[in-house]
């Protein structure tokens, strides 16, 4: 197996549908692929004690996060027969209704892409040093908690 170098996964601001479309389009030349699975995390306008979440502001410990993501990627490729995997996570402010996480797996037969995508999303949520600050409409905030 060829070694995969740590690559940057962070994007400033939201991940746009046009970016996702371009990423899908780039796979049309890879004709060994039979199935793609995509997970998208979108910001919910949760109402907490009468306050509505307007955006989440993400920060990270970038050097550590990229090393950890590299480890996650290596483990996933070792476990599943994937053709490719792409991960993007937002930093900075992402408004309610916008997308902050994009995980994209592809394989010859669907099962590997589907299972690898779900496992990668779980690992990203539990293992990547990233923090979300839920900012309310009046600019007060609370720190996001992930549920498992």
């Amino acid at each position: 197996m060829t070694e995969r170098k740590p690559k940057n996964i962070f994007i400033t601001g939201p991940i746009t549908p046009a970016f996702i479309a371009e990423s899908i389009q780039q796979h049309s030349s890879k004709t060994t692929i039979g199935g793609h699975n995509i997970f998208l995390g979108q910001i919910r306008a949760d109402v907490i004690s009468g306050q509505t979440v307007a955006a989440i502001e993400y920060t990270t410990y970038e050097e550590m996060a990229l090393e950890k993501m590299h480890e996650i990627r290596e483990a996933i490729f070792a476990k599943y027969p994937l053709t490719c995997m792409h991960v993007y996570h937002s930093l900075g402010r992402v408004a309610a209704g916008e997308i902050s996480l994009f995980v994209f797996t592809s394989s010859a037969h669907r099962k590997a892409a589907i299972d690898a995508c779900e496992e990668t999303v779980e690992k990203i949520k539990s293992e990547l040093p990233v923090w979300g600050k839920e900012v309310f409409e009046d600019e007060t905030y609370q720190w996001k908690k992930n549920n498992f």
Binding site: Y61, E63, P129, W131, G132, W143, N146
Partner: protein
């Protein structure tokens, strides 16, 4: 011995800063004791510690100019 401290997420609300240096501590237990003296609210906070990006599970000896990160529970995605 000087070590570099970096903090993230809700911990920065306690310290008011995200990077500083600490002198005169030998290991992570000594360091966290000192930090909790300086910032009492830290003792009520949940966090793990990474030295030079590697998470540690028990008291660990520090080295000159190493970087100690205090990481509250992750909430990406």
């Amino acid at each position: 011995m000087k070590v570099n401290i970096i903090l993230f997420g809700q911990l920065t609300d306690i310290t008011g800063t995200d990077t500083f240096t600490v002198e005169g501590v030998d290991d992570t237990t000594g360091l966290t004791n000192k930090l909790q003296d300086d910032y009492p609210a830290l003792s009520n906070s949940k966090y793990i510690i990474a030295i030079d990006k590697k998470v540690i599970a028990e008291n660990t000896v520090l080295t000159e100019n190493c970087t100690v990160a205090l990481l509250p529970p992750f909430s990406g995605g």
